[in-house]
Point group: none
Chain length 212, copies 4
DNA sequence: AATGAATGAGTATTCATTCAT
DNA sequence: CATGAATGAATACTCATTCAT
């Protein structure tokens, strides 16, 4: 009876193993320079086996971000559910996103990749759809927080909530890329966490009602 | 003697022609997918001729950003030299950078590419050096503006000037990438210029002394 | 008792099912382009199961023609047994063969395949042997008819009976291939059956005693 | 001056070398089983070089038959131009075609390949067009001969000239394939030329006016 | 008897780069 | 200075075939 279940578990595990190896290789080299051979060697499976679990290199690549996107959404929900003040919630959301990206550095670049229209053509529809859903879910949650902040007179009300979300999102990604490039120190940033704290301070300061 | 000069001029022009063609091709396809064949065809020169002017595909790619970086620095200097109020100067600097990037979309992606340590290994030293010089020059100019703003009590003095510069730079790049991905509209941004104005407003608001 | 028989019957049926599916796929794509995956999917059996019944793709392919060759021989025997005049018997034999090939288009191409020495190396001996037996049986039957026709002064006696058989066989196959290529109409043949009747007329005319 | 010419000659020669090697390999193995690697090794050129002269494996394959088709048409024209009786002209045309095919065994199989609609999709248009032109030219010449034969009361007038051409063409190809399969001897044909003479006799006998 | 899972060995095609001229 | 011609090294993806169960 347990046999089918064990098989199922093993299959899922194998899938995760492949994703894990792919994550490493893609992180190190980027999409194009990475090769299926290298990934196969890293998982200690043959190339055809990989194709048993993923339809194409592009699908494998984007599946990584897909896995990640589950985690971000989860993490964000937690931050939003915490019982703290609004500003504290903002900080928590910011940190949740930022830490997730720092722990899963490929997430940012793959997401960027998925943004580009040329890439989208080559990715399986079901992956694209699921990824977009997560992204919009994420944007939606933050926008709710923005709306609440405006209602309570905390955030500036001269901009549409969605615009505020977008600005915050893009600014945060811009900040992250400095870290992900691996050359933060070169630009004088020794304590990246402190840098982020400061940046968040600038961001929240810019978003708050003047006078509040 | 005029002959030598003409030859020299022609040579430089040829170099610019190649860069121009490369810029188009790389812009459209990105680094890896673009081929030297395509670039050669576009300049109407043979492939070996291109190698007469540039040592490798990577060098050609980065040389484009190098050419751009001259222009940005120039543009920035102009903005900084203008005789207007400090906040106006900030806006002018922001817009100069932003507009340059929108007009030369490859600049952002190539700069990003040059940031990555793996890429740096494959680029000729002299290009790298020159590019880094320009970047630091650029950062330096902005930092001067920041320092002046702090001195005059305009900008917040709780952060080191360089940190402020970095935050502003990275946030701006993050905003730009939304445009460069070509999917801004999809995220509800119809008037990208308005979006940038709003974003600048948030940014400057965040950087100003509270109470000023 | 009954159980073993039923099992045996089921086994044979399964074999036939596989052959049937293979026939479809090979007919549509030819030998190399067809894949075992596609055949397996069509029979709704797993690939290893197919290998339980056939040793290799090549064996499966040739087994189809083998199955067909039973049918042709059967059909030919019937035609030969019919109680009609000699010329009518010739026509009947011709039509039997031609119709069989048109209904089982793979028969001609696979037979051709089996003829080629390189292919023969890769096919199991027992299949080869059986196929050759059938072919020679077939040739033998026709040769008997030829001999009878010569004896009765109908067919030309200036050629060995076997030569006449071979000429008739190869000419007929040549005619058939026009149909099997699917481009008969393109060559102005709208009514293929009429074309064959005419061709038979030419053939029999060429084989008859001058003056008869 | 002569330099450009010599280069041109060398280029053409290289093209011919490649075709020659391809001819060997394809003859031996057939289209699919043959590999570009093997062809490259045989010409002692690198694979990419082959792609400099031919766009794809399929194009290379069909170009062989294209080259051949020039020769057949040439040979046929000669036969038709010869100043002999009509029956002798028929024999000459038959032998010209048959000998060409025996000397260039790949011609028949590739032509067969080009006939199939699926293959046609993958071949470059210009090759297809040229090949079809040659084929129709060839059919046209023979049809003229048939018409002349009918007019002079030699050939049977109960069939359209084009039908007669098609029947003769297909029957001849059928006969040839026995030789090309390499197993003629096995079927008791020791002297293939004699066999062909006999076959031609049957064919012409079938096509002549009864009573003539 | 049947199969899910795995793989060795291909396979056509591409592309940055380099000589010989 | 410029290039036609050539190639080494990849590279994603495929498929007949085989185990372990």
């Amino acid at each position: 009876m347990g046999i089918a279940e064990r098989k199922e578990r093993e299959k899922l595990q194998r899938r995760r193993d492949i994703l894990e190896a792919a994550r490493n290789v893609f992180s190190e080299k980027g999409f194009q320079p990475a090769t299926m051979d290298e990934i196969a060697e890293k998982v200690e499976l043959s190339k055809p086996t990989i194709y048993l679990y993923f339809d194409s290199k592009e699908d494998l690549y984007t599946s990584i971000a897909l896995e990640d996107s589950y985690k971000v959404v989860e993490r964000l929900k937690e931050s939003l559910a915490s019982d703290v003040g609004l500003v504290e919630k903002w900080r928590s959301v910011f940190l949740a996103f930022v830490e997730h990206c720092m722990e899963n550095p490929e997430y940012v670049s793959i997401s960027q990749h998925i943004l580009a229209p040329e890439s989208r053509q080559r990715v399986s529809d079901h992956i694209l759809e699921e990824f977009d859903n997560h992204t919009h879910e994420l944007v939606g949650y933050v926008t709710q927080l923005v709306e609440e902040s405006i209602e309570k007179g905390l955030a500036r009300d001269d901009l549409p909530p969605r615009t505020i979300t977008l600005i915050a999102w893009r600014m945060t990604v811009g900040l992250l890329e400095l870290y992900l490039s691996g050359r933060a120190t070169e630009f004088g940033v020794d304590d990246y966490h402190e840098f982020l704290e400061n940046a968040f301070d600038v961001l929240i300061n810019g978003l708050l009602q003047r006078g509040s």
